[in-house]
Homo-oligomer: 423 residues x 2
């Protein structure tokens, strides 16, 4: 990366200063006291971050479209003017966890902007494909469920109306939230996506441990998520005899412990977590009437994952029996392990090697918009290291030189794709 | 009970119609769809309920004082006009759980109003003591901690400033909340309380099971409450290796299960519960950074209770170790089992028997304002049956004839006390 130059280079040369400037502008919106982010999907803050990115792209001649679920597509117009021309997609998301880090998602959006702008400035000739920067809606799933909702709609996984009807904890629908920030559009995304490359921080410790600069993401772990509702009976925690209590929180306690033991049995190869509990009425001296428990399990091995799901569902019933309550488990995410496009992965590896950057092939444990996109076109991801693997935490960090390296790799890959796409 | 009569009776005869009318007026404020109550301490709704009761008392000539923590004292002025004259107290609270029942607390306030008014109408002569109806602030502890806060201040257990500084979940102090509803007063309660009798629903199943109409509450179970803070590290539930997770919710799960097992070991003689968990950030795919867990244990045997506390504190550390997190347990309530005034209990039993009502002696498992008051003056309680023992639940119910019987007993006891108090 160099500073912008007056003479257009023959190859894309992303503007490092522009990258950091735009990244910091975006990171300032929804910034928490401890330097993280609280920028939930379709919140006022996420709307402001979208506005900043859209203005940056519009100033540079990108043509913006917003679809009904709020996905933003900024086309460069490299080859042909119609929306039917085949198109390369790159982007990520601007929404965060309630106390998330500043790199998760936003890095991929800002990196895509700067990489795509480098291609514009390199004045490519003979392109066979157009290029679009994309902001996907509600990747995190922290405000609206399920996660990866915007990319899921574009990929044909979810109907638009299903996505728009999703409600946050206050009962506000995604449709209403998008209308409030001005991102319930009537446009549409490229009808002929030819490939999708997403740039992202790793969010795990592998690259740092291996001393690799660039991660070539070959595939994704399988992920299964459940929402389990335990229905007990509200009662005074004083006079109600123990034998007569129907304690929904006791059932949740049993299931939290059982869920962890599923992982322990595999020596940690199965990842599992219960990260959220909604307890009603959640008062000290009332036996909990109802608990909603949000659990997930991840593995690279689909057979292991299916077995874990069966064991989990048994554990739900055992927990309910132990507490004398009713249980209803619903599997809300069913995403088996899968692989990204092999040819795209090779391109990423070649681009990194060409730039003198060490690489490592790995599988993403976290879900990403590119995993959704795989249903519709060849897709792959570029990872850069996360310091200590810390993510979904305000302390999330990636070194500036690693951020720049990722953008350079992305620009190089995109440069190849608009001239000679895969498949 | 009869309807009001023009000729004053020689003995107090509570007005049943007036009781039901006032009770229904109060129960309508903060009423939930399912017929329960959501009337948290010092909320707008509780303020309205206080207003209704205060207006009812003022119309009948009671002199009202509001102290700084919002306790309302309505004196009848039976004997001497000064605030120094010895005084019999009767009353309860108007605050409820978030989804509580309509009888818990409000019955004791309305019953006290109607019983005291019956004494007024009976035109007592030769009284040695005055009589005051009291509304105590924040008995439930659902909005502000600890519970029984207003009566605790009057009894000398808590300093006024400590109580006023207590904050609700939104960070609003009790002082601010009382100011908002106009109940941060500058008055004071009777300086020479001679006895306190509180009327309340049982909230447990014993009276109904024994077929007794009136419960003579001889004492209270011991109650120990803890707030345990588990401090973990927020992390992505995907890429973070299981061995590196510091999961505060996992620790909470272990402790919930361990807490229940403390009760199971005693065959249910030790009551225990975890009714509330505050989870941060409480997002599906973030390992929980911090959990506040609210636990309580109750027993009639103080030695058993102390042993349970020691075992609980060990379980806290084991749970923390199992999840790799830090733990900080704080014992926020330390109320050993104790006995009410024996002479007052005898008076209650005699009054009930004189009215042809069957009685049963029992100990309250739940905390009550009268338990606080015991620190300052002889105290006791009158219980009436709760249908199926259901309480802290919108389905809480007591039969109208049982409500009336309790008020009659209370009036009879108070009639005796203003003429010839105990001690």
């Amino acid at each position: 990366m160099t500073a912008d130059t007056r003479v257009p280079p023959a190859r894309p040369d992303p503007d490092a200063a522009a990258f950091h400037a735009l990244f910091e502008s975006v990171a300032a919106i929804g910034r928490t006291e401890r330097g993280g982010l609280n920028r939930l999907a379709a919140s006022a803050e996420e709307g402001q971050a979208r506005d900043v990115v859209c203005a940056w792209l519009a100033e540079r001649g990108f043509a913006l479209q917003i679809d009904p679920v709020g996905n933003v597509y900024a086309r460069l117009g490299l080859a042909g003017a119609g929306s039917d021309s085949p198109c390369i997609l790159t982007g990520s998301h601007l929404d965060s966890q309630p106390r998330g880090g500043r790199y998760d998602g936003a890095y991929g959006v800002v990196g895509a902007c700067v990489a795509a702008d480098a291609i514009r400035r390199a004045r490519p000739a003979g392109c066979t494909h157009d290029l679009a920067v994309v902001i996907w809606t509600n990747e995190e799933g922290a405000r609206f469920a399920p996660s990866m909702l915007g990319s899921g709609v574009y990929a044909g996984q979810y109907a638009t109306d299903y996505a728009l009807a999703s409600q946050d904890g206050q009962g506000l629908s995604l449709r209403e939230a998008l209308q409030a920030i001005g991102y319930h559009g009537s446009g549409q995304g490229p009808s002929s996506p030819a490939a999708c490359v997403e740039l992202h921080i790793e969010q795990g410790p592998e690259l740092e441990r291996q001393g690799a600069r660039i991660g070539v993401v070959e595939g994704n772990w399988g992920t299964m998520k459940y929402i389990v509702t335990f229905q007990g009976v509200a009662a005074h925690t004083g006079p109600t005899p123990m034998a007569e209590r129907r304690d929904a929180l006791l059932a949740a306690g049993h299931l939290i412990v059982a869920c962890r033991s599923l992982s322990d049995r595999t020596g940690g190869r199965l990842l599992s977590s219960v990260g959220r509990l909604d307890v009603e009425p959640n008062s000290t001296n009332v036996v909990a009437e109802r608990v909603r428990l949000y659990a997930e399990m991840r593995a690279t091995d689909n057979a292991m994952l299916e077995q874990a799901c069966a064991d989990f569902e048994s554990a739900v019933q055992e927990a309910a029996r132990a507490a004398g309550v009713q249980a209803q488990p619903v599997r809300v995410t069913d995403r088996p392990a899968g692989r990204f496009d092999a040819a795209l992965c090779d391109r990423i590896e070649q681009a990194a090697t060409g730039l003198g950057l060490s690489t490592r092939r790995l599988h993403t444990v976290a879900g990403h918009d590119a995993v959704s996109l795989r249903r519709r076109c060849p897709a792959a991801m570029v990872f850069v290291p996360s310091v200590k693997g810390i993510s979904h935490n305000e302390a999330e960090h990636t070194a500036p030189e690693d951020l720049e390296a990722g953008v350079e790799v992305l620009a190089s890959v995109l440069w190849g794709l608009v001239h000679q796409p895969v498949a």
